[in-house]
């Protein structure tokens, strides 16, 4: 994972590094964005295509369906997911606060904000698990169920991956591995978290609000 790269790997350190006789300050062509952040942006770009594929499948199947949801299946309740949406949006704000703090080298604040973000993300997943337990259709009943569970499920998996990523960054921060303004991994993990958040907003609008 780009976020996990340590110094000493990666081009700039290797290039600037190590006692090359008579080495002048060698600056690579066009290295404006740090490697972890650029790597993360590219990874997110690829994730956009993943969810685009899922949304494409959704609208292809929904466009050809006779009833949506199919007869005998109730419309989804929106209050629990709406509350979960608010939690996730707030977590994006706290994530931003963590990245800001990291940029200013305030490690304690960074760690605190990261922890709050993780807690909000975990609450979101809890809400989703609760909602699953309340539903009266399964993944194999009809294409409606298939799409609902696979899209929300893939998103939940991404939230979980984001939590793991934030957890690793949190450990590194609280151990002081990322002090002295080395905010790259926090920023990279934050980019991913915001992405997961934006996808949820689209999912919420598509699955719950579009009737």
């Amino acid at each position: 994972m780009g976020a996990g790269e340590v110094p000493g790997e990666g081009g700039r350190a290797a290039r600037a590094g190590g006692g090359v006789t008579g080495a002048r300050e060698v600056r690579a062509q066009g290295a404006e964005i740090s490697a972890p952040a650029l790597g993360m942006i590219l990874f997110i770009a690829s994730e956009v295509m993943f969810f685009a594929g899922l949304f494409g499948a959704y609208f292809t199947i929904r466009g050809g369906a006779t009833g949506w949801p199919p007869a005998g299946t109730a419309e989804l309740e929106i209050w629990i997911p709406a509350a979960a949406t608010v939690l996730l949006m707030v977590s994006s704000v706290t994530m931003h606060a963590a990245a800001e703090a990291a940029g200013h080298g305030r490690d304690a604040a960074t760690a605190r904000w990261l922890l709050i973000t993780i807690a909000l993300g975990a609450l979101f997943l809890g809400g989703q698990a609760f909602e699953y337990s309340q539903l009266d259709f399964t993944v194999s009943d009809h294409s409606y169920g298939t799409l609902f569970y696979s899209m929300t499920g893939f998103h939940a998996l991404h939230v979980f991956a984001g939590l793991v990523m934030l957890g690793l960054v949190w450990i590194k921060t609280s151990r002081g591995h990322l002090s002295h303004g080395r905010s790259g991994p926090v920023v990279a993990a934050g980019l991913y978290w915001h992405f997961v958040d934006v996808v949820w907003i689209l999912l919420f609008a598509t699955l719950y609000l579009l009737r």
Binding site: M1, G2, G4, E5, V6, P7, G8, E9, G10, G11, R12, A13, A14, R15, G17, G18, G19, V20, T21, G22, A23, V26, R27, A28, Q29, G30, A31, I33, A35, L38, G39, L42, F43, A45, S46, E47, M49, F50, A52, G53, L54, G56, A57, T60, I61, G64, A65, P70, V139, S140, D141, H142, S143, Y144, T146, S150, F154, V164, L168, K172
Partner: protein, 621 residues
Amino acid sequence: MATAVWEQPRRRNIFARPTATTGWYSWVTTVDHKKIGILYGVTAFVFFLLGGLEALALRTQLATPDADVLSADLYNQFFTMHGITMIFLVVMPMGVAFFNYFVPLMIGARDVAFPRLNALSYWIFLFGGIFIYSSFLLGGAPDGGWFGYAPLSTKLPTDGMDFYAVGLQFLGIASLAGAVNFIVTILNMRAPGMTLMRMPVFIWMALVVSFLLLFAMPVIAVALFELMFDRLFGTNFFQVAAGGDPVLWQHLFWLFGHPEVYILILPAMGIVSEVLPTFSRKPLFGYAAVVFAGAAIGFMGWGVWAHHMFAVGLGPVANAAFALSTMFIAVPTGVKIFNWIGTMWGGSLRFNTSMLFSVGFVAMFIIGGLSGVSHSIVPHDAQQTDTYYVVAHFHYVLFGGALFGIMSGLYYWWPKIFGHRLGEGLGKLNFWLWFIGFNLTFGPMHIVGLQGMPRRIYTYPDGMGWNLWNLMETVGAFVIAVSTLVFLVNVAVSRRKGRYEAGADPWDARTLEWSIPSPPPEYNFAEIPVITHRDDFWHKKYFVGPGKTAEPVFSGGAAEAEHEAEHHIHMPSPSYFPVIAAFGLLVAAYAVIFGLPAVAIGLLITTLGFFGWVFEPGAAE
């Protein structure tokens, strides 16, 4: 890194990095892009031999009508595995092998941006290949064709298509990791002065291919997940009775599948764009046009997928739109062809083996490209769908194109990688057998295809007028096999010490990798070069004298070798976490098919691998 001043710890840290630089262990833990490149190349070549053996079995079965060499079932498994192997386990990783070895060398960098991610990518590729091939021993290989059309593929009874769905997913992770790595490397780590428009065309093609991978792999990932869920969990993506859509798979697959075609061919185009100028002793004709044509292919490749689906019945408007975009995408390819011919025009040509393969590439790719354009004519395509005409077409672009380019690259860069050339005599024999065998095998397929012989049939009756052509094709396939053996003999013979010793710059070439010793030292460049021209190394060797001829520069120039010796350049230390993380995924992949709960064990191993990855020290103490 300040690690050197730390006190030596008494107890060995579990995160301490391995240090071996020789022996098999150094290959397992390596993060050196050159070693990983060699691993990629060797592995892909082994898979090439396997895929080739499958092809020989298929051709033996089809040599005569009503033959009985393979059962219908085994035939299905073999043609499916032949396609999967050649596309995902041979041509794609061969391109990646060249990217790995030469992207850092050609842009003047010491390694790729994420060396451990690079190692992870290789191990996932290797385990993914082993995973798919193990299906032969575990109840039957995939048998639904390499494009595995759902809903049929959701109903095939053996575990084969599960191996297909999970295995390709697995290989996709390797491609994604590689793509991110190469884009960051190319954008962030070029030597000072190497602007985008001074990059070698091969690097441009690596960049375009990486972007195509980045955007195409997730699309097939969605399709494969849907297939896997339909098969394993009873979901209804493709099941019409429960409201699913039977054409959805085709859209998703070809939305990946057509960019994939360019993923396969662009690396070869990059190789040819390096080889032709070197052996014509001229700069590439129309550099900017070649670069923009490559980028244009990268964009337009997304708008032509439904030409694989003209027989589906999407309606005249959709068919007409995709017919037009398909005609249009031939334009940038044509631009490249003319530029390559323009490069050779008036040059002082050296027809060694590498050059022969490149010229062969241009010639064969023209044929494959023309039969491709013929598919943009909808009625023609509807007639040829699922016949041998299609098989002929894509073998002319993938074998006549991609594999010719890869062979050219092997002969071209062999001295850089191993320090000695491959023999020219055996090399030329290799080329001519390859060229003749190829045309003998795939040329007649145009004819039997137009005569209506369907692809993917395991046998055919006598008296259809196909016997002679099919026998000819089988003979051709064996000629290719002999040619491959000649290549292997050449590799073995050329190793003999001192036989074809090559210096740093045996071809008098133009790009940076030739400015350093062969094989390159671990750190590649003792001093990072400063770039002032396109084809910078050439300009360091020659200047344009009076009368517009190239005159050698007498001082400096190629004699970079005495600079090396006692530099202490810190390179990233080896790591065993990439192979651990990849192994966890392998466990998870088997668990998906044979015992779902065990997926947790696999993912746990992978997570632990990543945990160690994040917390291991930056360099060995």
